[in-house]
């Protein structure tokens, strides 16, 4: 059985180590926070916060306290606030250990496309280009194929890039792939999924 969203998030959480400062993207990456267990992980929200807490209880929403997805959130006892220039200073400066992000396409060279589909409504890259260029490790969490069954793990991305040669690890519903110098390495298969299943669903070079 391929992994579901929660299993993919749980697998991504295994990549995080005690003491890490981490940025989680919107969608499945947000779920990673539910699976960090006892590890001491500090979440960064790029609109200007380290130490992001859970959603507030009803009636306790604060318009001055939101995450990068513009959702109301809470602070923790470790929380620190700062402005956007400093926030991206710590991102660009390599202080954030890892970013876990969704993707539309990833290439075997670690190119990432996740912000724009030509001809469709363009909303903007937000902080995605800064994150993939700056953080220590970029982990992509996404379905292995699109809704038409086409591989999202490609030799070359077809969509406009968010970053070139930036992705380190790809976690999909089928398994875990590492971006190597000559192609992708399968590190792990989801339960009941074989290497051949992953190869069959992947357009990119697997070595």
């Amino acid at each position: 059985m391929p992994w579901d969203r929660n299993q993919m998030a749980a697998r991504a959480a295994q990549e995080l180590e005690d003491g890490m400062y981490v940025n989680l993207g919107i969608g499945i990456p947000t779920l990673v926070a539910n699976y960090v267990g006892d590890k001491d992980i500090t979440l960064q929200s790029e609109n200007g916060m380290l130490g992001m807490g859970p959603f507030p209880y009803e009636g306790e929403e604060d318009p001055d306290l939101i995450n990068a997805g513009k959702q109301t959130i809470t602070e923790l006892n470790r929380t620190a606030y700062f402005d956007s220039a400093q926030s991206f200073g710590m991102i660009r400066g390599g202080k954030i250990a890892a970013a876990i992000l969704g993707a539309m396409e990833v290439s075997e060279k670690g190119d990432l496309a996740n912000w724009m589909i030509p001809g469709k409504l363009v909303k903007g890259m937000g902080g995605a280009m800064d994150l993939v260029a700056g953080v220590g490790r970029v982990i992509v969490v996404m379905d292995h194929t699109n809704k038409h069954g086409d591989s999202k793990v490609l030799k070359e991305c077809t969509l406009p890039l968010t970053g070139k040669n930036v992705v380190d690890l790809i976690i999909t519903n089928l398994g875990v792939l590492e971006v190597g110098h000559k192609g992708l390495h399968i590190l792990e298969c989801a339960d009941g999924v074989t290497h051949d299943d992953i190869r069959a669903a992947t357009e990119a070079t697997i070595v």
Binding site: D64, A85, G126, M129, D130, P160, L161
Partner: protein
């Protein structure tokens, strides 16, 4: 020098003209200078360029100026929440320059610090890098980005003293400090102006040197996405 004005309209008097570049603070609808934007709308000034992370929603924030077609161009990182914006952009009425969010913040901060350009890895190998100078440092490629020198800055803070020292609250700080720094003149709106001397100097986030005019007002502080958890989950 008196910095405190009675209303947003009075605070903006003599500062607005057609075709100007305005840097605005805020992220989404959080920490936006909503009173100053309303006053800019009422002034009728047009062909404005805004450097602002977002463009508001249809009836709040910069969105109200899109509706009246007072905006010529946006310099933003994300504009997804605004239907009127999309209509004007797709019909060619509105120019749009996408900047990566950190690049936008640093372009403002840099200009405010007298730095006309800086090199960044952000956007290398993407459409953002097209036409920009590339330069290698220690074996890595960077692109040149230029500071945004705005004609006017408009920002929102939580508290100010009468000399314009500002204190922000939680994530409503966001783009406000860099936006305040990059303008020739900066007008700030705050929830409370306290007597000079009553703010702890160690807790001031933005010194009053960056703030030229100041108003206190009532803010709607609209929430864009209200997300909550149930008490029994605790």
């Amino acid at each position: 020098m008196k910095k405190v004005y009675a209303t947003a309209t009075e605070a903006l008097e003599g500062l607005l003209r057609d075709d100007m570049l305005i840097a605005a603070g805020g992220f989404g609808l959080c920490g936006i200078p909503e009173l100053l934007l309303q006053a800019i709308k009422e002034s009728g000034v047009k062909n404005l360029t805004f450097a602002s992370n977002n463009a508001g929603v249809d009836d709040f924030g910069i969105g109200i100026l899109l509706k009246t077609k007072q905006v010529k161009k946006m310099i933003s990182s994300y504009v997804g929440e605004n239907a009127e914006f999309m209509r004007q952009y797709l019909s060619g009425e509105l120019e749009l320059e996408f900047n990566p969010q950190g690049t936008l913040a640093e372009r403002m901060r840099a200009a405010g610090c007298g730095i006309p350009g800086f090199y960044t890895k952000t956007g290398v190998g993407t459409v953002i890098a097209e036409g920009k100078e590339h330069k290698d440092f220690n074996g890595e490629t960077y692109i040149l980005e230029e500071g945004i020198f705005a004609d006017l800055s408009i920002v929102k803070a939580w508290k100010a003293d009468e000399t314009g020292n500002l204190v922000f609250r939680k994530t409503a700080r966001n783009f406000n400090p860099p936006a305040a720094m990059c303008g020739k003149l900066c007008v700030a709106e705050v929830e409370e102006i306290v007597p000079t001397g009553s703010l702890d100097p160690d807790t001031i986030h933005l010194p009053g040197i960056y703030v030229h005019r100041l108003i206190q007002g009532d803010h709607e502080k609209r929430i864009e996405q209200r997300t909550v958890r149930k008490r029994e989950e605790a």
